[in-house]
């Protein structure tokens, strides 16, 4: 038991009313396995009322408990989403929108009356009334209501950062937004529907599994119904209660009860990682992905280039260059500038902070005219900037050309117009990616890096990151062509994207993850949206998809393997009276026929409750090859499924035999 247990228990209790509501046959009939249990419970209850005794009443009670526990699993899974939906609903605006009229004036209308194509004005402190694209102005927007991220983001007209979401708050400036969705179909509305599971449809694999489970149910129904004539022939007619108990124990109730909870929880795991999927089908497809297309910039490398090397020229001491480079970048707040300071600190042991003397210097910011930035400190004028901004000699020219050819960016450092050397800015592969790509390879997924760089640079970075393949000098249409080519070979392709350029490729891919920071066109085209706008999350999405399928498979195996022990419990109990030699099959040494049957029914019900946390959390997934994964899961859930009920039923029997009238 762990610290979460009390909380978990309270969640179970809180979900009880919902679970009771789901006892309605309308809800039950959707799940064939549990519907059979539901009918069985009703049947036994009728017998318990007509002819009351302890055994019948106990069996009836535990059969109802089985149905209830199944409902509970679903209610708990749904409950997690409901809380999230409530907080989202609060952000849904009933604010007044300031719509621009054709005459150029402004009118106030309720947000619910906005139509696609309307232009609305939003100023600092106001809530964006609906989803749309910024067509005029630039503003900082607080999107924490949707993303949970408190740092404001910039939204501006044109380009790939023009989309705003209804329910977010403008913090500064004034923007004009063209509304792109109808009220009631906005992003927030879709998100609410999604987390509430209102539009949940069974995914293809779930449908196929339901058919298999129904088949097993029918087989067992036949086996149990046919048992009665054989029993009559053998001279030991069985009561309906015993036959119902046997049937409920044999049909795959464990997986039947948890199936929908597993699906809901899988979606929920995505939502918790701030990913919204438009359908469960997309989540499932994510588990099947064969090829992953990853943009180089921002996904494989940091979005910004970093200083990786200092090259002195004309016999200048390397340390002198480092000191000048540091000085020129001390007051430079750009990521590139900070990376220069970091390099000087790491490699040359210089100080990160400016000294008192250095603080007196005057920062010279970068401008498009001078194409350089730096600091004036006394009579020292230290600058760094583009090579073309300085008068450079042959040696410097050669170094600069070399860096450019490698795909890097050269920055020349000079003091009082004397060139000291060159800083190499280059793409740095994010740490840990090599290992993740190796994991993906083990899972059978090929990674392809897509970049606009020349093939030489692309090759170098691809090799460093450990991707399987790369597409250099890629234009948007090349991307689609690549996706089509992969799909023609029967492979499923996943990609991320944010720009309007990416939209066709996102639509073509089997799993298209759009960045929340991207355009509405990209978000519409993809089948998932990452609210954190983190392209590496695609890897996690694949893992969640796989985990979802594995959990279903593992619990089905567990459920079917359980039947073996139940036969050993119930069959000897049923027929020991006619054929005493069958008592030898009573390997668990269960006390009486009644206690054996009741114990099996109790185990069958309790195992559902025990497995609810596993169904919600998903079985543990370690990336590895298919055979290793199967061997492990088969051992845990197959063999475990055979052994566990023997122990469980035996233990429950020790308690049940104490009940008067049964033991």
């Amino acid at each position: 038991m762990n610290a979460e247990s009390p909380q978990r228990t309270s969640v179970l209790i809180a979900s009880l009313p919902d679970a009771l509501r789901k006892l309605h046959p309308r809800d039950q009939v959707r799940n064939p396995v549990m519907f059979v249990v539901w009918v069985g419970s009703l049947l036994v209850t009728v017998f318990a009322i007509a002819d009351p005794d302890v055994f019948t009443a106990a069996v009836a009670a535990w059969l109802w408990a089985t149905v209830l526990f199944a409902n509970l699993a679903e209610a708990v899974a749904e409950g997690r989403g409901k809380a999230q939906a409530d907080s989202l609903r609060r952000t849904r605006n009933d604010a007044v929108a300031r719509r621009l009229t054709a005459a150029g004036g402004e009118e106030r209308v309720p947000g619910a009356e906005l139509r696609v194509g309307d232009l609305v004005v939003v100023e600092a402190g106001e809530v964006v009334p609906g989803d749309g694209d910024v067509v005029e102005g630039i503003a900082t927007v607080d999107e924490s209501a949707i993303t949970g991220e408190s740092a404001p983001v910039v939204r501006e007209s044109g380009g790939d950062r023009s989309a705003v979401t209804g329910g977010t708050t403008v913090l500064s400036d004034r923007i004009v937004v063209r509304v792109t969705t109808k009220p009631g179909e906005t992003f927030v509305d879709r998100m609410i529907a999604l987390v509430e599971g209102a539009r949940r449809q069974k995914t293809p694999n779930e449908v196929a599994l339901t058919i298999l489970l129904s088949t097993l149910t029918i087989i067992f129904l036949l086996a149990v119904v046919a048992l009665q004539p054989f029993a009559v022939y053998s001279g030991g007619e069985q009561s309906v209660i015993v036959l119902t108990a046997l049937l409920v124990c044999l049909i795959p109730t464990t997986i039947g009860a948890l199936l929908s909870a597993i699906g809901i929880a899988g979606m929920d795991r995505l939502v918790r990682r701030n990913v919204l999927a438009t359908s469960g089908r997309a989540v499932e497809a994510a588990g099947d992905i064969d090829t992953l297309l990853l943009d180089k910039t921002g996904t494989i490398t940091w979005g910004n280039r970093r200083a990786t090397e200092l090259i002195p020229v004309d016999g200048v001491d390397e340390r002198t260059l480092a000191e000048a480079a540091r000085l020129s970048s001390l007051a430079d707040g750009t990521p590139e500038g900070r990376s220069v300071v970091e390099l000087c600190v790491e490699r040359y042991g210089l100080s990160t902070e400016a000294t008192g003397h250095e603080k007196t210097g005057e920062f010279v910011p970068f401008s498009a005219q001078t194409r350089m930035s730096g600091i004036d400190l006394g009579d020292r004028r230290v600058r760094k900037g583009a090579a073309s901004a300085f008068g450079i000699g042959d040696e410097t020219r050669r170094i600069v050309a070399g860096i450019s050819q490698d795909g890097g960016t050269p920055l020349v450092v000079a003091e009082n117009d004397v060139v000291l050397g060159v800083i190499r800015l280059s793409d740095v592969v994010k740490p840990g990616l090599r290992e993740r790509f190796a994991e993906l390879r083990a899972m059978g997924i090929r990674t392809v890096m897509v970049t606009g760089d020349n093939p030489l640079t692309a090759k170098a970075i691809a090799a460093e990151a450990g991707v399987d393949d790369f597409l250099a000098e890629a234009k948007p249409e090349d991307k689609i062509a690549l996706i089509r080519r992969e799909q023609e070979g029967g492979r499923l392709v996943a990609m991320t994207g944010d720009g309007t350029n990416d939209a066709p490729a996102l639509a073509q891919a089997d799993v298209g993850v759009a960045m929340n920071s991207g355009t509405s066109a990209a978000k519409e085209a993809g089948n998932m949206v990452d609210l954190d706008s983190d392209p590496t999350k695609l890897i996690e999405i694949v893992e969640i998809g796989k985990q979802l399928l594995i959990t279903r498979g593992a619990l089905t195996t567990f459920s079917v393997a359980n039947d073996l022990a139940k036969y050993f419990a119930i069959l000897p109990a049923m027929f020991a009276a006619i054929h005493p030699q069958l008592g030898r099959l009573n390997v668990m040494q269960l006390a009486t026929p009644q206690s054996a049957i009741l114990s099996a029914v109790v185990f069958n019900a309790l195992v559902i409750v025990v497995l609810i946390p596993l169904a919600l959390r998903g079985v543990r997934y370690r990336p590895s090859g298919a055979s290793a994964l199967l061997r492990r899961n088969l051992l845990v859930y197959g063999l475990g499924g055979v052994v566990t009920p023997f122990a469980g039923i035996w233990l429950i029997d020790l308690l049940v035999r104490l009940i008067p009238g049964i033991g």
């Binding site: 293809p204 694999n205 046919a226 054989f230 796989k546 039947d563 069958l582 298919a626």
Partner: protein, 196 residues
């Protein structure tokens, strides 16, 4: 022998239906195994979806349905004890064998049971018809659906259908699917006989 027939003819030497029997069970096995490794299940490069599972399910259902219903009705018919050569558990074994064999094998019967009455003739004939042709139709549907699919290329994430792991798994599902279906009936007949 009875066990063998009930296991659905998958062991070599059955009467002509062994291969498709085991292929259907392989489809079911791969479906479960595929789920367990986190991919949409596939077998020999073909995806196993709703249609394939339905066809496999119908094929699996047919035999136990006709056999259990036929044997069940027979067991309670008043005329039955006269037709049996032996009373008690062995008599039940005779009935089970007759129907199992008719549904799924060569239609033979144990010595001792007389299957010449109208009921036996008619019911065993129906068993033969449905127990054989329903699976054949279902298997053809399954084959058609698989053949129409494009082959999915193999990757490291594809489950290999060779080697001891797959063999064990397949054997396990054969035994489990068949055993779980027939154990209750067998317990009263052959098992009770054996433990006497």
């Amino acid at each position: 022998m009875l066990l063998n027939v009930l296991l659905g003819e998958v062991t070599p030497g059955g009467v002509g239906t062994g291969l498709y029997g085991i292929l259907v069970l392989a489809v079911i096995t791969m479906f479960l195994a595929g789920l367990m490794v986190g991919r949409t299940p596939e077998y020999l490069g073909k995806k196993l979806g709703r249609r394939e599972v339905t066809a496999a399910a119908v094929s699996i259902l047919a035999m136990p349905t006709v056999m259990l219903i036929g044997a069940g009705v027979t067991a309670v018919l008043p005329s039955t004890p006269d037709a049996l050569g032996n009373p008690g558990p062995h008599g039940l074994s005779e009935i089970l064998y007759a129907y199992a064999s008719a549904s799924n094998n060569n239609g033979s019967a144990f010595a001792g049971i007389t299957v010449t009455s109208d009921w036996f003739q008619a019911s065993l004939a129906v068993c033969m018809l449905l127990g054989r042709f329903v699976p054949i139709v279902a298997v053809l549907a399954l084959a058609g659906s698989l053949a129409a699919q494009r082959k999915v290329p193999q990757t490291a994430g594809t489950l290999p259908t060779t080697g001891p792991l797959f063999a064990t798994l397949l054997a396990g599902s054969v035994v489990l699917v068949a055993a779980l279906t027939f154990v209750p009936a067998l317990a009263l007949g052959p098992v009770a006989e054996a433990l006497l």
